[in-house]
């Protein structure tokens, strides 16, 4: 059982964000897929985009994406000290497209070299699409003196930028299930 859990933990930032500590994640092999109880579920095709043309704010800092003097991405800022500075993900934008993101509730009671039978639990399965097409996914990691870029005394240092494009292979399944004392 423990070996199964050790082997199957997979960190995915989006799920770590929403389920920080108790949600354990696992990669499954084909053999597990043949023991699914419960049909239904969904197969999702489509795309998700963030600030494709810009966001709803237009001021001295934010603008439309065709305005080179303004930032058109989203901004996420937080601080860990009461009167401290702000850690910022700035100018977040991009587009992800995929076919085959699946979502369902299933029971794992076999496979995994015998660990599945011991595990014998229901899990939330997020079946990853084989390929995700990234289209100009970008953001900056920065530090800032104020939460809003329009606040008085605003100063910001961009530490580094990330820009991703092309196909990203994401195979397997992400399993989410409770552990520990609820």
């Amino acid at each position: 059982m423990k070996s199964f859990l050790r082997r199957t933990i997979l960190a995915l930032p989006v799920f770590l964000f929403s389920l920080p500590s108790l949600a354990e994640l696992a990669r499954l092999g084909d053999e597990a897929l043949s023991h699914i109880s419960g049909q239904g579920g969904i197969y999702l095709s489509g795309d998700i985009s963030i600030n494709e043309m810009g966001g709803p704010v237009e001021n001295s800092y934010f603008g439309r994406c065709d305005d080179a003097d303004k930032k058109c991405g989203a901004r996420f800022a937080y601080r860990l000290k009461e009167d401290g500075g702000w850690v910022v993900l700035d100018d977040i934008r991009g587009n992800f497209a995929f076919e085959g993101l699946t979502l369902r509730v299933r029971k794992v009671d076999s496979g995994f070299g015998g660990d599945g039978e011991l595990f014998n639990r229901d899990v939330l399965e997020l079946g990853l699409p084989n390929t995700v097409r990234f289209n100009d996914v970008q953001f900056k990691i920065s530090s800032s003196s104020t939460a809003r870029p329009t606040d008085p005394g605003f100063q910001q240092t961009d530490i580094f930028s990330v820009d991703m494009r092309g196909d990203v292979v994401m195979e397997g399944n992400l399993l989410v299930f409770p552990a520990g004392n609820p």
Binding site: L19, P20, A23, G38, Q39, G40, G41, I42, Y43, L44, S45, G46, D47, I48, S49, I50, N51, E52, G54, G55, V57, N59, F62, C72, A74, R75, F76, A77, Y78, R79, L80, K81, E82, W86, N95, A97, F98, E99, G100, L103, R104, V105, K107, R121, D122, L124, G127, P129, N130, R133, N135, A147, R148, T150, V176, F177, P178, G180, N181, P182
Partner: protein, 800 residues
């Protein structure tokens, strides 16, 4: 209609005939006559009776097996003068075929009951009903019926004008005002078949209009359109109109569910119908309605309910039917959302190990603090099976296998603003819920056809508060006030409390074709939910249906978020979600997403294809819901937006996790903002909120095989192949590596939701870690998200 022969001495006879007319208002329908019709009436030797009728009775009683229901304060008289009489003119002719013909004219008549009481329920009553009208029409009665012999055949038609139908409790009234109606029913037959009275109406046609639905809180008003105090028209919920063509057969048999009573069986076919609700001239229209319903073994008894309370009981054996609404139009431009089909079966069924049936027990009293008059409907229902399908631009999605069950009391009062015994009341028609224990579930979605595989997809509608399964205990009220944001419309105030709720966020089918199985899913359980809404207006606008909330706040305390079984599934812990909104709104707009570049970017088919997307013209119909949630800054601990996640709770003696004993992560005082104080009032503006537009369509999508080899249905293909629907294939589809244009036209249909969420600024004041002994420690001193515009085009299909 002339009246040459006035024989007032025959008043008793005329009264008797009038009573025939009165007693058969549905079966014997009537229509207006013009002079040319009158000129052709044969048998000129008839009688004309002119009558000014004023009739009162302190009490009319109906006794059933020793139990009785009393109609107090019965009156027939003038509608405009409480002490006056109603004018009647009746012309009686015997036709050449020996039929009896009654032509009649009734002016400004009111029929009313001041109160309705049940013996054995002292101190409470159901309230009063009044019905005003002027009638002009005829009733022709002849011997012989559909089965021959001793029956009768009726032809009838009438026009009703100046109608009012009202309900009054404790001095407050809600009534349909200015009702106009034309009805024609020809060839209605009445037979005695064995011990059954059989009524058959082969064709009933009519149209109707309600000029306003009015509310009065002034006890001095009674059945008037204008307030007696200020002379202003009473506020209106809006107006109604419609038309219909029906055929119907009804059987009436003596005998209740026990002893005396009445049994009713009925089958009605709706050949065509329409229904329009208008709000300041803008319509919500249901057009091209057709359908059929069958009522089997409906009984009428004076009996007691499951708590031994005296009641007028209406237990139902079963009822099934099917309806189709050809077009649902809303807004000022008459655009259609699409078509809806509903099939249903109300019948006894066992849910969760308990047998449910269908019955309503009418009682007096309503909410105990609203006054002695009111209506209480002790209700039990069992919706054994229903399918609801929605079709837009020719493509259909079916919410399959809907079941519902429940038991509890629904109260009805007409109330006015005020607080009595700590109960807050509001102006309007109050629908109360007391100890209702109920639930519903759907088996899943089917897209395209009835035999399509079950799939999920309701997960995409969670933003609208839609759960695929829900069990709950419900108390509270919804009060519907007259008048919207401006002019006509509806204003809603409500306080709702749910206890011991179990709602599915994701649910697998409860029946995969081999009988009922425990429905697994992702469940919020041990749910306590308190929600309050103030001054929420509902109006039909030029754009669609507009709902604007004045103020709303709620606490959703989820004892456990469980995976698997809703009773025994393992828990992620406890979640508490507090919401506080001011000025939030929702607009329902006809039309879906329109042209969409799915899986790519671009405003044209070529640009979309170049980015790897698929251009999808999703058509004119569909549904778009625009939500604006203005999350207000906290004003106190009860009215704020926050999210708490608690785990590691101590267990009670029976092994249940005790709330408040664990460690918590608290996202405190979440609120939206426009990003600054632009109006100079000292606080940040907050009018943009969190805006989410959801467009729902049924459309084709790309489904790509994820693994080599056979899928769950045994259909073989290679990884990356596309699923193409093909009726000649055994499974109804096959996999194709490079679809041709013709094959691409047969991509599978999916439940397509296009969502767009935007906000200018969303803040979290602080994120705390709370230990039950050590107290709260702030981990994050503020989160601020700005300038987000997130779009998602997602189409849900079954997992291959």
């Amino acid at each position: 209609m002339g009246a040459p022969d006035r024989i007032k001495q025959l008043a008793p006879m005329a009264t008797g005939l009038f009573c025939v007319v009165l007693a058969l208002p549905v079966v014997a329908d009537m229509k207006s006559l013009d002079d040319s019709t009158l000129a052709n009436i044969s048998g000129q030797s008839g009688l004309s009776v002119e009558l000014d009728l004023g009739l009162t009775a302190d009490r009319l009683s109906y006794v059933d097996d020793g139990s009785s229901i009393h109609l107090d304060g019965f009156r027939i008289g003038s509608a405009v003068d409480p002490s006056g009489q109603a004018f009647h003119l009746i012309r009686i002719d015997v036709e050449e075929d020996a039929s009896l013909n009654l032509d009649y004219l009734v002016k400004d008549r009111r029929i009313e009951f001041g109160d309705i009481r049940l013996a054995g329920a002292p101190g409470v009553s159901m309230g009063g009903i009044f019905f005003d009208h002027s009638l002009e029409g005829y009733l022709n009665i002849r011997q012989g019926s559909s089965v021959g012999g001793a029956g009768y055949t009726f032809d009838s038609a009438y026009t009703m004008t100046g109608g009012r139908l009202g309900y009054r409790t404790n001095g407050n009234e809600v009534f349909l005002d200015d009702i106009t109606m034309n009805v024609e029913a020809l060839g209605v037959t009445l037979d005695v078949v064995g011990d059954t009275l059989a009524l058959n109406a082969p064709r009933i046609t009519g149209d109707w209009e309600v000029g306003a639905i009015r509310y009065s809180s002034n006890p001095l008003n009674h059945g008037v359109s204008v307030d007696s105090g200020n002379g202003q028209p009473l506020p209106s919920y809006g107006s109604l109109s419609g038309s219909y063509e029906l055929s119907s057969s009804t059987s009436l048999t003596a005998g209740g569910r026990s002893g005396e009573g009445l049994r009713i069986d009925n089958e009605t076919v709706i050949h065509s119908a329409s229904f329009l609700y208008r709000d300041d001239g803008k319509a919500l229209a249901l057009r091209d309605i057709t359908g059929v319903y069958r009522i089997n073994d409906l009984r009428l008894d004076v009996a007691t309910d499951w708590q031994n309370r005296p009641a007028l009981a209406l237990p139902l054996g079963s009822m099934d039917g099917e309806f189709s609404i050809g077009a649902i139009e809303v807004g000022g431009n008459g655009k259609s959302i699409g078509q809806v089909n509903v099939s249903f079966l109300l019948e006894d069924q066992v849910f969760n190990g308990r047998s449910y049936s269908n019955a309503i027990y009418l009682q007096g009293g309503g909410h105990p603090d609203a006054g002695p008059q009111g209506l209480r409907l002790a209700t039990e229902w069992s919706l054994r099976l229903a399918d609801f399908s929605y079709t837009e631009d020719g493509n259909r999605v079916i919410f399959s296998g809907l079941q519902s069950w429940g038991q509890g009391d629904v109260t009805v009062n007409v109330t006015r603003d005020g607080v009595t015994n700590d109960t807050e009341f509001f102006d309007g028609l109050r629908i109360g819920f007391e100890d209702i224990r109920a639930g519903y579930r759907i088996n899943g979605l089917r897209v395209g056809s009835d035999d399509a595989p079950l799939q999920g997809g309701t997960e995409l509608l969670l933003a609208l508060g839609f759960y695929p399964a829900y069990e709950f205990e419900l108390d509270g009220h919804v009060t519907l006030g007259a008048g919207g944001a401006s002019g006509e419309g509806i204003t809603i105030n409500s306080d709702v409390s749910i206890r011991n709720g179990k709602a599915a966020i994701i649910a697998v089918p409860y029946d995969e074709g081999n009988g009922e199985i425990p429905q697994k899913g992702l469940w919020i359980t041990e749910l306590d939910y308190d929600a309050h809404v103030r001054d929420m207006t509902v109006d039909v606008s030029q754009e669609g249906l507009a709902v604007i909330k004045g103020e709303s706040w709620s606490t959703m305390d989820i004892g456990n978020l469980r995976i698997g079984d809703k009773e025994s599934g393992q828990s992620f812990g406890r979640f508490v979600i507090q919401k506080y909104e001011t000025g939030s709104s929702m607009t329902v707009v006809p039309g879906g997403a329109g042209d969409v570049c799915a899986g790519g970017m671009g405003d044209s088919p070529s640009a979309c294809a170049a980015s790897g997307g698929v251009w999808e013209p999703r058509g004119e119909e569909g549904l778009t819901v625009r939500l604006k949630q203005v999350l207000a800054k906290a004003i106190n601990e009860a009215r704020k937006n926050s999210l708490t996640w608690e785990t590691n709770r101590q267990s009670s003696g029976v092994g249940e996790a005790m709330n408040g004993t664990g460690t918590s992560l608290v996202l405190n005082d979440i609120h939206t903002s426009d990003g600054g104080d632009f109006d100079g009032d000292g606080v940040d503006d907050n009018s943009f909120g969190l805006r989410t537009d959801l467009s729902v369509d049924v459309y084709q999508t790309r489904v790509v095989k994820k693994e080599d080899g056979p899928d769950a249905m045994g259909v073989t293909g290679n990884r990356g192949d596309e699923k193409i629907m093909d009726g000649s294939s055994t499974a109804g589809y096959r996999y194709v590596s490079n679809p041709t244009l013709a094959e691409a036209d047969n991509r599978p249909l999916g439940f397509a939701v296009k969502a767009r969420s935007r906000f200018k600024e969303l803040s979290i004041n602080n994120i705390d870690l709370v230990h039950p002994v050590g107290g709260a420690q702030t981990a994050v001193y503020g989160v601020k998200m700005q300038n987000f515009d997130i779009k998602a085009n997602l189409t849900a299909t079954p997992i291959p």
